[in-house]
């Protein structure tokens, strides 16, 4: 008995040290690259959502849940992550549907063009913060690059141990708790960088989306059917990377075949009222705050037509959302103030990104 106590104690101390070190060494995304913090923030939600967005930066930079709430009383969350590939989307959705059942799921179809994992960094940002479960393991196995190991997703220390030499004060400050950086998954950027030119798209040899992408699209669709959730396919109005006609046609066909709604917002730029001289912060790759609010307002009407209810009558919900709105407007104000003062956003320009200030 004494022996068991002794070894148990040693194991406990060892595990404690291990997890403490691990918590210290994993990146916290508090000093830049807020995109990396998106996945973890979802798990702090206390109330359910009627609409869930899944997809890449074209959802989390372009759709604002607060606008949907304020204008339509629609509760929503953007479960996006940078360059979220379709298998990431599928497993993220699966994880979400195990926790709540929304009325609609909105999927941005840009990732249909990628049939293979692209980069370890994006895998990490999509998967690191998924809670450990069979679902996560499947997600890792589906996503990992050749030289990545499953074990390093279960114990991220094995991946991030070499960060010991890059630790900063903020790694200690945010060791146990990190501030919220997004607004229900929406990352706010109020600065403007107008579109002056868009490079001509190059010709491709093959426009057909890969089988594996269709497989996952089917999985997403079937999952939604099973749970009784309406699936809406969209293509966000980002001007670059180019969305080819040939790709669009495949999505139109797919939606038609399965009775889904597919909206290509590139066709509705005028209807939405987007002005790419003021509504983008990076020459048309992403919308800025004003662009996202216009798009969300336009999309809210579509969601309302699809039967997504107005929850503003619900007092408990209203209280929760009131707080969200407050934080949202505070950040918007702060960003506009900073822009007025300095002409650029410090937060938005991490070292290494060479976006010239306030063009």
């Amino acid at each position: 008995m004494k022996r068991i106590c002794k070894w148990g104690g040693i194991a406990l101390i060892w595990a404690g040290a291990f997890f403490l070190l691990q918590a210290l060494l994993v990146p916290k995304y508090m000093d830049g690259i807020p995109d990396g913090a998106l996945v973890r923030e979802y798990y702090r939600e206390t109330t359910e959502h009627d609409v869930i967005f899944i997809g890449d930066c074209e959802v989390y930079e372009n759709f604002s849940p607060v606008t949907l709430w304020e204008n339509y009383g629609i509760t929503s969350y953007v479960r996006g992550s940078p360059q979220q590939l379709i298998w990431h989307s599928y497993y993220t959705l699966k994880d979400t549907l195990e926790r709540e059942t929304p009325q609609a799921v909105v999927f941005n179809v840009l990732s249909m063009q990628y049939s293979e994992p692209q980069s370890e960094a994006y895998n990490r940002m999509a998967l690191d913060d998924l809670p450990l479960s069979v679902n996560k393991i499947q997600a890792v196995l589906a996503s990992k690059m050749e030289d990545e190991t499953l074990l390093s997703y279960i114990f991220p220390l094995f991946r991030y141990h070499s960060r010991w030499s890059e630790l900063t004060a903020s790694d200690f400050r945010y060791l146990f708790y990190q501030d919220a950086l997004s607004h229900n998954g929406f990352l706010m950027r109020a600065d403007v960088r107008p579109v002056t030119t868009i490079p001509e798209p190059k010709k491709l040899a093959n426009y057909q989306f890969a089988d594996v992408c269709y497989e996952y699209l089917d999985k997403i669709r079937l999952l939604c059917e099973e749970e009784g959730v309406e699936l809406i396919l969209i293509k966000a109005p980002s001007l670059y990377p180019h969305w080819y006609e040939e790709w669009d046609r495949q999505m139109v066909d797919y939606a038609g075949e399965h009775g889904l709604t597919y909206i290509n917002f590139l066709d509705r730029i005028d209807e939405v009222g987007l002005d790419f001289s003021t509504d983008t912060y990076d020459q048309g790759l992403h919308l800025n705050l004003s662009g996202a609010e216009k798009l969300s307002d336009y999309f809210g009407a579509i969601l309302r037509d699809a039967g997504i209810p107005d929850r503003r009558e619900d007092e408990a919900l209203s209280a929760v959302w009131a707080e969200k709105c407050e934080a949202y407007h505070a950040q918007a104000e702060a960003q506009y103030a900073e822009l007025a003062e300095k002409g650029y956003l410090t937060r938005a320009t991490t070292p290494g990104s060479q976006i010239p200030a306030g063009e």
Partner: protein
């Protein structure tokens, strides 16, 4: 044990056969083929160095400026002169910025690595430019073979030649060349 003499010769024969087979196909030794070097440094001495007589890579030339794949991009961009337009596409979450420079007849694309931009591709956009070997948009398959030979792979009407750390991809539509693209084969990280 008496007849083992025969068995042994049979064994030896089988063995030699195996050896011959393996010597012929070989090479499936996974990550283990740092042949015999005394160091893991890739500085494998002797036998390895001489083996790599690579054909030199494809180089695009515009107004006397050589555009090599995987070359540092900034000096080339400077030498090429003012582009018609340039476009920077920061990737999601600050993982680096790709640049696209548009010139008359072609586009120059770059990728970043450790804060330096390198040439990732040159895409022809019109027949205003031609490769140093004389191939241009609108040309024929015969032109292509005359210029670059038969050693290409073809997929969906796109023919690709690989030389050194570069590829030349030529796309056909209705029997004529519709696109020519130089592509960098990314160095192993």
């Amino acid at each position: 044990m008496k007849h083992n003499g025969k068995k042994l010769s049979a064994l030896l024969l089988a063995l030699l056969l195996c050896l011959a087979l393996l010597a012929g196909c070989g090479g499936n030794n996974g990550g283990n083929d740092q042949a015999g070097g005394g160091s893991t440094n890739g500085q494998n001495s002797g036998a390895d160095g001489e083996g790599a007589q690579e054909a030199s890579a494809f180089v695009f030339v515009s107004n006397g400026v050589e555009v090599k794949m995987n070359a540092e991009a900034d000096p080339i961009v400077e030498a090429l002169g003012e582009p018609i337009s340039s476009y920077d596409a920061p990737s999601c979450a600050f993982q680096g910025t790709d640049w696209i420079y548009t010139y008359d007849g072609f586009q120059l694309n770059t990728y970043p690595l450790n804060d330096v931009n390198y040439v990732s591709s040159v895409v022809f956009t019109s027949d205003a430019v031609a490769t140093p070997e004389g191939l241009e948009i609108g040309g024929t398959r015969e032109d292509m073979i005359a210029a670059y030979g038969e050693d290409y792979t073809e997929e969906y009407g796109m023919c690709t030649y690989t030389r050194g750390d570069s590829q030349l991809s030529i796309l056909f539509g209705d029997g004529a060349i519709t696109s020519i693209e130089y592509l960098a084969v990314l160095p192993e990280q």
